[in-house]
């Protein structure tokens, strides 16, 4: 029976719930703004990675490196766009 039990998925599900709870704590606990943002960003990226690997099976095909490179590329682009816009409008306007 053991080989039919989706152990990875169940563990992943529990871990994703834990991450959600940790992110929610930012609202309920009295944290500084920087601390709160740090917690949110870290849990968000962990959550996204978890969903991608465990539930969307990113690492299970032959060309998994293509998927990972694309994800990494997307993250680089997102970071560049967000921080570039912040630079333009907030930090240097």
């Amino acid at each position: 029976m053991a080989q039919f039990f989706p152990k990875g998925q169940v563990m992943g599900f529990i871990f994703s719930l834990v991450l959600t709870v940790v992110a929610m704590l930012v609202y309920f606990l009295d944290m500084s703004f920087g601390m709160g943002m740090a917690v949110l960003i870290i849990t968000a990226f962990l959550q996204a990675t978890l969903q991608l690997v465990v539930f969307m099976h990113a690492g299970e095909s032959e060309d998994k490196w293509a998927i990972y490179i694309n994800v990494l590329y997307g993250m680089v682009i997102a970071v560049m766009t967000v921080f570039g816009s912040l630079l333009i409008f907030n930090w240097d306007m």
């Binding site: 590329y73 997307g74 682009i77 333009i88």
Partner: protein
Amino acid sequence: MEFFERFAIPHPSFLIYMAMISIVLGAIVIVAGITYFKKWGYLWREWITTVDHKKIGIMYLIVALVMLFRGGVDAVMLRYQLAMPENTFLDSQHYNEVFTTHGVVMILFMAMPFIIFFFNFLVPLQIGARDVAFPRLNSLSFWLFFMGMGLFNLSFIVGGSPDAGWTSYFPLAGNEFSTSVGTNYYMISLQIAGLGTLMTGINFMTTIFRMRAPGMTLMRMPMFTWSALIANVIIVFAFPVLTVALAMGTLDRLAGTQFFTTDNGGMDMLWANLFWVWGHPEVYILILPAFGLYSEIIPVFARRNLYGYTSMVFSMIIISVFSFGVWTHHFFTMGQGALTNSVFSITTMAIAIPTGVKIFNWLFTLYKGKIEMTTPMLYAMLFIPLFTLGGVTGVMLAMSAADYQYHNSMFLVAHFHNVIIPGVVYAMLAGLTFYWPKLFGFMLNEKIGKATAWVMSIGFVLAFIPMYITGLDGQPRRGYTYSEVTGYSTLNMVAFIGSIIMTISFLMLVYNIYYSFRYASRDISSDPWDARSLEWATNTPIPEYNFAVTPQIKSREAFWDHKYGGKDMDLFAGQKIERIHMPNKSGVPFIMNVFFFILGFCLIFSIWIGAIIGLIGVLGCMLHRSFEDDHGFYFEVEEIEEIEREKRGAIK
């Protein structure tokens, strides 16, 4: 009557009335002609419902050529208006409308479909696939794009054209300053066409990653396929930004939100920011496939393999990252600080390095080659010096401090035409001439073709080099007239003459197609240029399934080695014909996009009931697709053998 008043043109003129009459008459002639020759069934069966990547590609090509004509007419009107000081051919409102539609049509409805034509036609052939990964989605992409294009062109005669520039900056594009429905047309039709492009991007990324023939590793892919892969990756990451920006702009105009307004917490500069976060990568979406085509053409006619394949690939990958890091250079003067401008100046200059690597690679490919100056090669040879000139002025513009002098002047207009025309348009025409025999089974006339390239280049130099000078002298862009004392008139007259010469070259291209259609020999091989990559290994005309047996790729220039590399490089050796699984035709994508058209049109005019009907139609078609049982069909072995015999097949 009140209901119909909204469809009237707010600022009509004699020219627009004439255009309305000619469009209505033209439509009647086309409908009557199709009915008279009983072609409706043919049109429906063979074209509208097709999912074949080659036919969808040809439809993209037709749209691109028609739009090249439309955008070209706009361009000549603009140049005629500016040819003489205080000219009254167009008034300021019409001038605004014409330069707006010229920009949108040329970038989004001419250059984009032209490169997507090459994606569709070439990528599956170059990687040895039977079709794209999602053939039905491909058809949906085309019809989305087609309806967006149709909607945008309708603005000219129903409701008034957009007039806020192709960048449509807020607050000018907001309700306060753009009161006609023109900017609604811009927002909605670009949204619909953009969705189609986004789907194309996903489709071709998947196709290239998953459907390559056995043995074709990524580093054995033909250079055009590499450029298509990179361009489609950029599409997938850049177009969502446009989608979001357009959705916010639409909400601002139709639903009274305050994203880009100047008060109530709105931020008009955010539009410029989002527009160029998409807009700059868009430039590379256009130019990379053009580079890919040059990389296909130059080795064939230099009779040498491409110099620096690996560095070509890496320069494109670097461009794909850098292209997202330079967008601020489109608005250096918007008011951000010197630090930001310096950062983006440096990234902008840095992007010239990978581009320079590519130029040198082409030059080294030519070095010691046995150069054969055919029409496609002539375009490529004219491209290198003219494009380099445009690149150098680009680096000039990249200096943010100096940009305060250049910005909003004709210098900028000259720069981007100088990169887009020799870069993209020449590549498209070179590629079209190069692949014409594969498309239609005859070659375009070489003499007329070469003359076209030369006439076009002379026209180009006359039309755009004077703008550099008047721009440095201070002539603003988008100004509809100027007074005699400014001294711009002589050079503007030269530019107008240049634009007329470019028009002549376009007519020569059309005449070449007509002349070659009538007189060119049909007795050509399926590989008339003695080319190097896999698309030339198919029969001409290409059967629906492309390759009767899957080619086995053993080297980078698979077809060249197949021809000259000896027995063990044979692409098809030891392969047996097996039954081939192909996708079914479908009319649903077309019908769905008729509803999309209704939805878009009604949104533009705020006819909510019509919009709801359109939306229900769209959702209904999606629902239909979810429950549809479609397993495709098979070409049986005998059928394939019959087709291959008829085409005097490639397989012995």
